[in-house]
């Protein structure tokens, strides 16, 4: 082939918009996800300025100090790494099992039995997942905290007089319960999706061959949903493993450490080198899990994708159990989705914690001007300038990130689907998904280390709002690109080509043909980053400065200071914004968060 025709091929290649998108994404994402990976490895073997004193080497020089301390130094390693590591694995595993049991049971009940109030159950059950992860943790503390660890007793103790034991109030048990409940909706959406799409004929065929209900369940239904179950398990596992807020709220009072809380301590403290190693360990596990997941779903795809009309499925008749079970499930839902909010509201109106008598109620923490005797004269949150700053920052950040992530995700989905099967498309696909595997805090940490200084034409970004925007946009790109790819795969290529051949320009094809047809899926791609960002703590906690503080980091600070009422009030605010926004978008466009997750 001559040089000229080579050049022509290159020109022809770049005349296609999807090729341009892929190449740009490859370069930008490569820089934003792969380069940090190298810097983080370098960070584990270099001396940071805060470590000079005990490493006894100049800052910036190379050392294996962190690695040996971390893995092969007896009690130190035991305390800093092995114990938190085992705690993390135990928490992640148990929360996963719990999430799948609860989510799976609800999914089966809603799709396969004649239970009442199905619409209510499926709407409300998703709430705990939309709400910030620590919502339930805070609610748990509101109810069950005890006076032994310090502070006032919770509602439960006040009303029953029973002092909750430490194991019940703090540490492993509540963390597992809270994370299990938080991720149960995730399992519910994934398993419910499979059950709903599963061809009912498969079960009916077994019934006609004289199998009873139990046999059908055991021999047909469960084997068919098993790959989905495994895949759900792995996805939930990787999420619970990298969760920070819940262990921070429920574990720290009894010094129950997991990798993320340990990472926060070390990165924020004197030993960033330790923190970067932990981040690396979590990334390696995350990638391993993803590869396992791809292997499982890839190998067994043949029957997870079987879909059919299951409109006439014969529902399991609950008979006499129908009403009691409905009441029970609705009761559980109210307890995990509504009651926490009530508790935040109550806590935020109480003057002295632990005293729930009417005279102790006050509006001080909402609209007070600030009193010298409480919380350093901090004004009530509706009059508090730093809270208003946090709120506007949070909203601004979430809107910008959702616009960037949603748009880039849609374009990448379009380009990836268009060139499906090519090497370039596979690379970009993996790159857009890679941030999903990065534990949020580790991701924040590496951006911190990468952009603290000027890099080429990019100025030093530490303390700038745009650093938060970049981190968030990259981190939430996977949600948006998944919806984008799904939307495009459902759309036959001919739909666009019919426009191409009529001379409709690319931009008009996107805005007049492709977007309107797959509107709801694309909008889910915008909604997910918005909601995730609104309630995100661990990703931003290392990166905010006083002028860029957001609601979630404020909440964390108030909680650390023990100003419970402020924390509760802010949490209520976040939950109301997030849930309200989700319902609004859902009403207006039909898009919803569960659509986005369900397509994962």
């Amino acid at each position: 082939m001559s040089a000229k025709s080579k050049l022509n091929q290159v020109k022809a290649f770049f005349r296609k918009p999807h090729n341009i998108i892929l190449v740009v994404l490859l370069v930008v994402l490569g820089y934003l996800t792969l380069v940090p990976l190298f810097t983080i490895v370098f960070d584990t073997i270099s001396v940071h300025s805060s470590e000079v004193r005990f490493v006894k080497k100049p800052a910036g020089s190379l050392t294996l100090y962190h690695w040996t301390k971390m893995f092969a130094s007896g009690v130190t390693s035991q305390k800093t790494f092995y114990e938190p590591f085992i705690n993390t694995m135990v928490v992640a595993f148990l929360s996963c099992v719990l999430a799948i049991l609860i989510g799976g049971f609800f999914a089966w009940t809603v799709t396969r039995t004649n239970i009442r109030a199905k619409a209510f159950i499926s709407t409300v059950f998703v709430f705990p997942y939309i709400m910030p992860a620590w919502t339930l943790a805070m609610a748990w503390l509101n109810f069950f905290r005890n006076s032994r660890i310090g502070g006032a007793p919770g509602l439960f103790t006040v009303f029953t007089g029973i002092e909750t034991p430490n194991w019940f109030a703090y540490g492993l048990f509540p963390i597992v319960v809270v994370q299990g409940l938080h991720y149960a909706p995730f399992a519910y959406i994934l398993i419910g999706g499979i059950l709903r799409n599963m061809d009912a004929n498969l079960e009916e065929a077994a019934m006609l061959l004289h199998a009873n209900r139990w046999q059908i369940m055991q021999k047909v239904t469960i084997p068919i949903v098993r790959p989905a179950l495994l895949s759900t398990f792995l996805l939930v596992f990787s999420s619970t493993m990298s969760a920070f807020a819940v262990p921070a709220f429920l574990g720290s009072p009894v010094r129950f450490q997991v990798l993320t809380t340990q990472m926060f301590r070390t990165l924020n403290g004197m030993n960033p080198g330790y923190g970067y190693i932990m981040a690396l360990v979590m990334i390696v596990i995350g990638v391993g899990i993803l590869m396992l997941n791809q292997w499982i779903t890839g190998r067994r795809k043949s029957y997870t994708t079987i879909t059919g009309k299951s409109s006439n499925i014969s529902l399991f008749n609950l008979r006499k159990a129908r009403t009691p079970l409905t009441v029970l499930l609705v009761g559980i839902l109210l307890m995990i989705a509504i009651l926490p909010l009530v508790s935040f509201a109550i806590e935020s109106f109480i003057m002295a914690p632990g005293d729930y008598s009417l005279s102790n109620f006050t509006t001080e923490f909402w609209i007070g001007l600030g009193r010298a005797d409480i919380a350093n004269s901090e004004p009530g949150i509706l009059r508090n300038p730093s809270i208003w700053l946090g709120l506007t920052n949070s909203l601004k950040l979430s809107v910008i990130i959702s616009l960037i992530a949603g748009t880039v995700g849609m374009l990448s989905g379009y380009a990836i689907a268009k060139r499906r099967g090519s090497k370039l498309s596979t690379w970009v696909n993996n790159l857009t998904f890679f941030p999903y595997l990065m534990p949020s805090m580790a991701f924040g940490a590496i951006f911190l280390s990468m952009f603290a200084v000027r890099r080429g034409f990019i100025p030093a970004l530490y303390g700038s709002f745009w650093l938060l925007v970049i981190v968030g946009s990259v981190k939430y790109l996977p949600f948006a690109s998944r919806s984008g790819i799904n939307a495009m795969l459902q759309l036959s290529g001919e739909i666009e080509e019919a426009g191409t051949i009529m001379g409709v320009p690319w931009l008009k094809r996107m805005t007049h043909i492709i977007f309107p047809i797959q509107k709801t899926t694309f909008i889910s791609g915008y909604l997910l980053p918005f909601i995730s960002c609104m309630r995100e703590l661990s990703l931003f906690i290392l990166l905010v400065s006083p002028s860029t503080r957001i609601l979630t980091t404020l909440l964390f600070q108030y909680n650390e200071k023990g100003w419970n009422q402020y924390a509760n009030a802010i949490n209520l605010m976040i939950v109301v914004i997030v849930v309200g926004f989700n319902l609004l978008i859902n009403k207006l466009t039909g898009a919803s968060i569960d659509k986005g997750i369900g397509n994962n």
């Binding site: 091929q9 022809a12 080509e497 051949i501």
Partner: protein
């Protein structure tokens, strides 16, 4: 006028060669079908001419204007090629009404509003779908959707129309109806049609030229009846015609006169109208169209066979025969039925027969058969 010429067109997907060194000329106002089994490269060829797919190598000219050349780096985008494309799944935009679907292309050409209305109404009545203009595609039946898709494609008045298996999603009755409709449109619109199908009957009935493809290679490019009468090789012989041609293997017993040994007991004399290059003992395949196998009484019979099954359909009857171990199909016209298991005499006195080389499958020549 739109004459389409493909020169050395090759398309590779990675290592897989979809179309290999294809050369063809599509004359103005012709109706050309690209015919072949699935995966033979016919749709790829069509999409390359339309500009939806980029060839790896070669030159395409439409109307004497080069629209693609790998060497010169020319790749005119589809909308600048003045072509229309009818998709297999119609690709109607589900969020636009029938009217909007048809009008969309004209709006893009910045036609004035009243002109668009006039043109859309003309098309709606031409395709007899005026009453559906405000419906959405999902509210139409398959046949109606098909008509909307055709109207949308015709709206901008393209001089060349590409169709990718447009009838494959319709039921048998509608398909018949749409076939004659397409022939009518071809005449009325005065444009060139290029049509992809795997249905040989569609190709035979509709087109003025058939391009038969297999594994990326063009097998034969000729008018349909010529493909039927004089297939270039055993593949094209077998692909065209229903019931299928009988391909009987044998050897050359002697070259002058040319005698073919088809089985132990059956040998026939093949007298060709032009010289045929064969050698004694060469393995050959004889092509016998079912309608050229007649039943005869013993005096005229060239071979004996047993009736294995008889499938009368009123106008004709298809008989399966066992001729000394070789299975043959014959078509006998008229409302007749035959007794299974009966011995009958066969005659090959009518029609021209094609002789193929067994190894290459290529056509060696045509001739008449007589008793050896």
């Amino acid at each position: 006028m739109p004459r389409i010429e493909l020169t050395h067109i090759t398309k590779k997907f990675g290592k897989f060669v979809a179309v290999d060194d294809l050369n063809m000329v599509i004359d103005d106002r012709s109706f050309v079908t690209l015919l072949g089994p699935s995966g033979c490269g016919k749709t790829t060829t069509l999409r390359m001419i339309a500009g939806l797919e980029t060839p790896t190598e070669g030159i395409i000219t439409i109307n004497d204007k080069v629209v693609f050349s790998s060497e010169d780096g020319i790749d005119v985008p589809p909308d600048k090629r003045d072509v229309g494309f009818l998709f297999q799944n119609y690709a109607l935009w589900p969020h636009m009404t029938v009217y909007k679907n048809i009008a969309f292309g004209l709006e893009n050409l910045k036609w004035p509003k009243d002109k668009i209305k006039e043109r859309v109404e003309e098309l709606l009545s031409m395709l007899k779908i005026s009453e559906f203009s405000h419906r959405y595609p999902s509210e139409l039946s398959g046949g109606q959707q098909q008509r909307v898709a055709i109207a949308r494609t015709l709206a901008t008045g393209p001089k060349v129309l590409f169709m990718d298996e447009p009838l494959s999603n319709l039921d048998a009755k509608l398909r018949m109806e749409m076939r004659s409709e397409l022939k009518r449109l071809h005449r009325e619109t005065d444009s060139t049609f290029v049509y992809v199908t795997h249905d040989q009957l569609e190709a035979m009935t509709l087109s003025s030229m058939v391009c038969l493809m297999k594994n990326g290679y063009m097998q034969q490019y000729a008018p349909p009846l010529e493909v039927y009468r004089k297939p270039a090789n055993t593949f094209t012989a077998d692909f065209v015609g229903s019931p299928n041609i009988n391909l009987v293997d044998g050897t050359v017993r002697s070259t002058s006169p040319l005698v073919l040994q088809l089985s132990e007991q059956v040998s026939l004399c093949f007298s060709s109208n032009s010289p045929i290059a064969v050698t004694e003992g060469q393995a050959i395949t004889l092509g016998l169209r079912p309608e050229h196998i007649g039943l005869a009484d013993d005096a005229q019979a060239m071979a004996q066979a047993e009736i294995v099954s008889s499938l009368p359909s009123g106008m004709e009857t298809i008989i399966a025969l066992d001729m000394d171990g070789k299975r043959l199909h014959s078509v006998v016209f008229g409302d007749l039925d035959f007794e299974v298991g009966k011995q009958v005499g066969l005659s090959f006195a009518h029609g021209l027969f094609n002789l193929f080389d067994k190894e290459s499958g290529n056509n060696l020549g045509q001739g008449k058969l007589s008793k050896a």
